[in-house]
């Protein structure tokens, strides 16, 4: 490869390299170090080994946060993929007002939860929201108190999160669907395969890339899940809807306990790297094989 261009390519990477090394790696290193100190509001260098981690993993709120994230993550990604894909399939049936519908499904993604959380909280409020309206129009028996029930509150977050992300999934799936060769449809019609079977056994495997993209995007937002919990329930009732990022944030700032906060952040980081690294490695191997 040409020297000049290689040099230019290397030069072009300087900002990103700088950011990666100084900001990302630097901050991460600092975070890991602080997690092994007794720092509270300000960082100190009073080494305490893994004490913060012991405290962290004994902490009930942290345990609940991690469980919530796991449950939420799995359900959120599965359901948002399902709904997004379904909406995309429906919109792909040459419906009227396609542009309008697409925009309606997509707009939530443009709004932050800090902004829409209040509206959601109202809607789900057992004395104000949908439940009250149901009562007002005569359905006295309707009980909709999931927002205030410890064992159900996570599902209300789920509803809002799906509302937020399903449109994006739809957009990704729709563009994937539009890219599918029309001859596939002709072939399945000649073979007499019903449409739903075609979608499940032919189309979905073909949209592997779209599913992967949507999953990655949603996975990043799952790990970072913070705003939604703050805006809708602030972790409550009790600690029933706490999430790890909120644990980090609360301890970092409001609670002035950065030692514990960084221990939590480091735990999250290690988990992420443990999951992402093998995937990247596998992908790299695959890419190298394709390259020649």
């Amino acid at each position: 490869m040409a020297i000049g261009s290689r040099l230019a390519a290397q030069t072009a990477l300087i900002p990103a390299m700088l950011i990666a090394l100084v900001v990302y790696c630097g901050s991460t290193g600092w975070t890991i170090w602080i997690s092994m100190t007794s720092s509270r509001m300000l960082p100190n260098n009073n080494f305490v080994g893994l004490r913060q981690y012991e405290i962290l993993f004994a902490n009930e709120r942290w345990q609940v946060s991690v469980q919530n994230l796991a449950l939420f993550g799995v359900l959120f990604i599965t359901l948002a993929l399902a709904l997004g894909f379904f909406l995309a399939v429906l919109i792909d049936q040459r419906v009227r007002a396609e542009d309008l519908l697409r925009s309606v499904f997509l707009y939530p993604f443009s709004m932050s939860f800090i902004v829409t959380g209040l509206a959601w909280r109202w809607l789900l409020d057992p004395t104000l929201g949908i439940a009250k309206i149901a009562h007002d129009i005569g359905f006295e028996g309707v009980q909709f108190d999931w927002l205030v029930r410890q064992d159900r509150v996570i599902y209300t977050l789920l509803a809002a999160a799906i509302w937020h992300a399903a449109g994006l999934v739809m957009a990704i799936m729709l563009s994937g669907l539009r890219g599918i060769d029309q001859e596939i449809w002709k072939a399945t019609r000649i073979d007499g395969i019903p449409a739903w079977r075609t979608y499940i056994f032919v189309v979905i495997p073909m949209l592997k890339g779209s599913f992967a993209t949507a999953t990655i995007l949603m996975a990043t937002s799952v790990v970072r899940l913070y705003d939604l919990s703050v805006a809708m329930t602030n972790g409550g009732p009790g600690i029933a809807s706490e999430v790890p990022a909120k644990f980090v944030m609360d301890n970092l700032f409001e609670r002035q306990n950065i030692g514990l906060a960084t221990a939590a952040a480091t735990s999250m980081l290690i988990t992420v790297v443990a999951v992402v690294a093998p995937l990247l490695y596998a992908q790299n191997r695959a890419a190298a094989r394709v390259a020649r």
């Binding site: 261009s5 697409r102 809607l123 509302w163 992402v276």
Partner: protein, 288 residues
Amino acid sequence: MRRNAKWLSAARIGLYAFLVISAAFFLLPLYVMLVTSLKGMPEIREGNMLSLPHAPTVAAWVKAWSSACTGLSCNGIQVGFLNSLKILFPSVTMSIAVGAVTGYALSLWRPRGAAWLFGILMAVAFVPYQVFLFPLVRMFSYVGLNSSLPGIIVVHTIFGLPTMTLIFRNYFAGIPLELIKAARVDGAGFWRIFGAIMLPMAVPIIVVAIILQVTGIWNDFIFGLVFAGRENFPMTVQLNNIVNSTQGEREYNVDMAATILTALVPLGVYFISGRWFVRGIAAGAVKG
């Protein structure tokens, strides 16, 4: 896809019914916000959030825009609107520029350390930003970037980097390598190829990048608060001041109006360019 006419009608009705119900579900929060913003406080206290306002008034909108107090200044969120624009344009441009160049260099050239860099970026895409907040403050103080417009622009560039790099890399990876070879035979170097050939081809993914970054940067609160400096506080800081007062009376109609006003820019971007978004997003997709 065209289907047989026989079962078409019944299925069609079901299809539209599902779409309409879904649309209602998606619009519900926006509707609640809208009608609330048009009501007076007494009517809001009555507590039927879905009912249309008896006597619609835009008073709350006017107040939110021009006279709601955030601290001692009672100029509404209009000041922040200008600040947000001041932050938005350079931040979106910078973050996309750096992401595009990095993605281009990673995908079509094989510079040293590319695999590592990409690995780090991928991992960071999953890390909550908050983790980096504190060290970044310290770093910025060393280089004198705190509380300044350049500071907040750099921050948005830093945190936009993983996603931007990822989508541009995926997009450029889909471009045939022969095109680069042809350009090199034509005598174009790294930057010329980028400017004359790659960028013009990248329009669909640039649209996606713009939408993602406009949304993210416009909705950002914490970075604006920490890094922008009080002269440059974005609209969201003022929105927070209006909506999140901890102690004292709350005017939900003003809250909602301020909220919708703040959301108008990203909303507008989505409604205007949703079509291109759908087209472009596939291009940035991970190749299965």
